[in-house]
């Protein structure tokens, strides 16, 4: 129980800090920490496999993609500290979030949820595999297809059509210093 509270606090604190900070890299790294905290929660709950998958996918892959996106989208100038309407939007978000949280807490505390299964249930990798390839085979296939499509979509979306290397020096030369290499097709 204490472990759970500790894990929850660490996860929530790093998630909250991640959402509040202005520095995107810090946000991403803190969020990674909070994902790692979630993995710890899964371990605590006895879902070993899920915990490792969480670390592998979130800490190992998604965090990288996020960091990459952050680095690739450096704004020309640092973002202004308080963009317009931020206060209003923050207020709206706070009210909505608070309300939702209130409803959730009320529902959870008031409903008589039994805590059965005192010994943690274990699910072996083999059992999981059988479940995945047996009962959920259809879903597995769909997820596979989804991942493939997502991969292709991401590539298509993010693909740059850079100038071929060493193509026309005059193009590069003629530009005033400081202007980025940009294809004419990208002009606004």
């Amino acid at each position: 129980m204490m472990a759970l509270i500790l894990i929850a606090l660490v996860t929530l604190a790093s998630a909250a800090a991640a959402m509040l900070l202005r520095n995107l890299i810090h946000s991403a790294l803190l969020l990674t920490a909070s994902w790692a905290g979630l993995a710890a929660f899964y371990l605590w709950a006895g879902a070993e496999f899920v915990a490792f998958a969480q670390v592998l996918v979130y800490v190992g892959a998604i965090s990288m993609v996020v960091l990459f996106a952050v680095l690739l989208t450096r704004p020309p100038q640092p973002m202004p500290v308080t963009p317009p309407n931020t206060l209003g939007r923050a207020l709206v978000a706070l009210i909505t979030g608070g309300a939702v949280l209130g409803v959730f807490i009320g529902a959870i505390v008031s409903s008589p949820l039994p805590a059965t299964a005192a010994p943690a249930p274990t699910v072996s990798v083999k059992q999981l595999g059988l479940e995945l390839a047996g009962r959920h085979a259809g879903a597995l296939l769909i997820v596979g297809a989804l991942l493939t499509v997502a991969l292709l979509g991401a590539v298509v979306l993010a693909a740059t059509d850079r100038e071929p290397v060493g193509a026309s020096l005059d193009d590069v030369r003629g530009r005033p210093p400081g202007t980025p290499l940009q294809k004419s097709g990208d002009a606004p």
């Binding site: 070993e48 490792f52 990459f68 680095l71 990798v125």
Partner: protein, 404 residues
């Protein structure tokens, strides 16, 4: 051969004897701590030795003797330079720790610590000997890669937190490299898991335990899919551990020292250590998955304790890493990613198919068994040649003309 010989159980007996002085409730904890200490001490000394061996091997390849002066301090005894790591360590510890003024101090400090922590975590599931697995996990292989995946995050942290332009470029490269090579690394392991039918590292080693004709080992590397998988694993492991020819994040001829540019003293030493730990862990995993783990290479050699065999194989792989480093030039970042996505990943997928074929044809007997080999080898060789040709399209040694 004898799983319970005194030598084989030696480390366990020592542990039990040490723990027996403690009261019963503390024994489990003390035993674990002892195992952790043993692993860390063993690999820390291996690290010290490896820094020396690497320099020696590089030097020998380059027709130099390498470091050979530092021996026992205050004497004239040189001991082939065995004191060099100690001297290096003292130097590192006494150097000033410099943090750039504009650096992100917290991340700058956290990066080496995180890197080392993750590197040490990966040792937990490697079976160092017949009875020597720090943690017996059912999903050990998955755990290993999960823990290993986080290391490049630390490299990124180091590069970004230094606020040095070279470091920033290195950070970007580290990310690109990780994203590209995680996939072939995992895909090269999938056939092993598939054919061994388990994600547990001990299970995988035990599956490689039999003897062909009662003499030759049945390691995975001696099957077509295993050999291909091992080759892919080796290349991807080189990339994952930032070793030459994939040492782009710290490419010294381009980025000075990349993410390490702004590190000095002890933090630099930690980085160095973590890098070697990561390399050792990946090599250990390679040994476990493909080279039969702690199994002896020939059946009559099985009397030698298993952990010695593991150590020997680990050293061999590490030496291969050094050999590659001594020979090859570095890739460019776009070539690095192209190699991963256009060559290793498709090849690993083909290998997955071959492994499937292998498992389906497991009951072929007699002369058909040989055709199974041939078919598998052909299935792999074809794509290898085709993909290789595609990869190196336009690249060829040239014929030169002479002025008349």
């Amino acid at each position: 051969m004898n799983a319970d010989s005194i030598l084989e159980r030696g480390p366990l007996l020592v542990r039990d004897w040490l723990v027996s002085f403690l009261p019963e409730p503390a024994r489990w904890l003390a035993g674990s701590l002892l195992a952790i200490t043993a692993v860390i001490v063993a690999f820390a000394s291996l690290f010290a030795l490896l820094t020396l061996i690497e320099r020696k091997v590089l030097a020998r390849v380059q027709n130099r003797p390498g470091p050979n002066r530092v021996g026992i301090p205050l004497t004239k005894i040189r001991l082939f330079g065995l004191g060099q790591p100690l001297a290096d360590g003292i130097k590192m510890l006494t150097k000033e720790d410099i943090v750039p003024r504009s650096a992100d101090r917290v991340l700058h400090f956290l990066a080496p610590v995180a890197l080392l922590a993750f590197a040490i975590l990966t040792f937990a599931v490697i079976p160092f000997g017949r009875h020597l697995v720090p943690v017996e996990l059912e999903a050990g292989v998955l755990y290993f890669f999960a823990a290993g995946a986080a290391t490049e995050l630390a490299v990124f942290m180091a590069g970004w937190a230094s606020r040095n332009k070279y470091s920033l470029l290195a950070a970007m490269r580290a990310l690109a490299q990780l994203i590209s090579y995680e996939l072939p690394l995992l895909l090269s392991v999938v056939p092993v898991v598939m054919l061994a039918g388990t994600l547990s590292t001990t299970g995988i080693v035990e599956r490689q335990g039999g003897w062909t004709f009662g003499l030759l080992p049945q390691w995975h590397v001696f099957t077509p899919w295993g050999a291909a998988g091992f080759a892919i694993f080796f290349v991807a492991a080189l990339a994952e551990s930032n070793r030459s020819p994939f040492d782009l994040p710290e490419a010294e001829s381009e980025l000075i020292a990349g993410h390490l540019t702004e590190y000095s003293g002890f933090k630099y030493a930690l980085f160095f250590m973590a890098e070697y730990f990561g390399m050792c862990a990946l090599c250990g995993m390679g040994v476990t998955l493909f080279l039969g783990g702690w199994q002896a290479p020939l059946s009559f050699l099985a009397f030698i304790p298993s952990y010695i065999w593991f150590g020997a194989k680990l050293m061999t792989l590490l030496l291969a890493f050094m050999w590659v480093r001594a020979t090859l030039p570095r890739l460019r970042i776009d070539q690095l990613t192209r190699l991963a996505w256009k060559f290793l990943v498709p090849l690993a997928l083909v290998n997955l198919g071959v492994a499937a074929f292998w498992s389906l044809s497991a009951d072929w007997t007699g002369a058909v068994r040989l055709t199974r080999w041939l078919i598998a080898a052909m299935l792999l060789a074809g794509p290898f040649v085709l993909l290789g040709r595609k990869l190196t399209a336009g690249l060829a040694p040239r014929i030169y003309r002479y002025a008349t």
